[in-house]
Symmetry: C2
Subunit: 208 residues, 2 copies
């Protein structure tokens, strides 16, 4: 039997992501977790704290990985491939439809400025790798700012495809979306980006 905290967080994740934060009552969370409404407050100080526990680190894994990649000596197309595939795999691995909380209006509130800032930093890493790739002639497009925004938007759009459950595993989603990303950027040598990018992923995986 899972701990009460975990049961509360699971119930809240399911409810917040289907009905939204404001549309979910503490009573609904509690009952889904098998408790009475006031018992939540023994484990969490407030409804907002429950939400913060769920969304406080949404971008963290991809951001950490991206930041580590910035100090790796590898071609920019490989770096971007690795980041894209990691990011998408992480999104597809999220439990419930928790990724849809990326777009919860409450996340834009001042209390969650830190979360929003992590998103901005991740986007800027996409931008950096795209720009470096264009400069190096690895991506044959001419507007890295616009293209990297589209690419970032594409990854965020992934969370709305959680209703699509073809048989693909999260890691297959990662590499396939990364392949399409290389097409979108008109990669000069997508096969090289793929193999070098996948190699960077392996390094990541084994260093855990």
């Amino acid at each position: 039997m899972a701990s009460p905290e975990k049961q509360i967080l699971d119930a809240a994740a399911a409810l917040f992501s289907t009905r939204g934060y404001a549309g979910t009552s503490t009573r609904a969370i509690a009952e889904a977790a098998g408790l009475r409404q006031p018992s939540l407050y023994y484990h969490f100080a407030s409804k907002e704290e429950i939400f913060a526990r769920l969304v406080g680190h949404l971008w963290r894994p991809a951001l950490s990985y991206g930041e580590r990649l910035t100090s790796v000596d590898a071609p920019p197309d490989a770096l971007l491939y690795a980041l894209l595939s990691y990011d998408v795999e992480a999104l597809r691995s999220l439990p419930w439809r928790i990724g849809t909380l990326y777009f919860a209006p409450e996340l834009r509130a001042p209390e969650f400025a830190a979360v929003a800032e992590e998103r901005v930093r991740l986007r800027s890493i996409y931008r950096e790798f795209t720009g470096a790739g264009v400069a190096a002639g690895a991506f044959l497009i001419d507007d890295p700012g616009f293209a990297s925004n589209l690419l970032f938007g594409l990854t965020e759009g992934i969370v709305h495809m959680s209703d699509i459950d073809d048989g693909r595993s999260p890691s297959q989603w990662g590499v396939e979306v990364a392949d399409y990303g290389m097409r979108l950027l008109a990669a000069a040598d997508p096969a090289a980006a793929r193999s070098a990018g996948s190699a960077l992923r392996e390094v990541q995986r084994s260093s855990r």
Copy 2:
């Protein structure tokens, strides 16, 4: 001076899209529209009716256009180019950040099944044109189902870029995203798709 209905809808659009449906009170809407809370009910039967007026037709323009395109005799890459550019232009033309309501959890409620179904139909048109393009050798990818989902996700991701206001007009957004869409699909002849697709847009525009 705009009509009270319009002022209410404008206020509600701004509030719903920044705070969400459940997070917006009828009092907040009324006061933003310059009325007292109960006066809303002279114009609308319920809070939900206000929401329905805003989101009831979100996918309609693109869907209508897409359905008209299905009976046009043109190469599939041109059809897809036209649909993509139209869709994105329409999204970038929405007032406020109303497009973010595409993802409001309330839209998944049974009352809005008709809206959700329009989205599904639009997605299936994307799918149809993509499949036809692959069959005709116009798109050099091998999984039209997956690719068209990504493409559709990309357009939906556009609404989250409403904070990005580079100088581009909605129609520039349309053609540029369509250009990137052709890359994503590995179009065999993107320039042809662009010129034929743009021509289809012109026909559309002038027949209004």
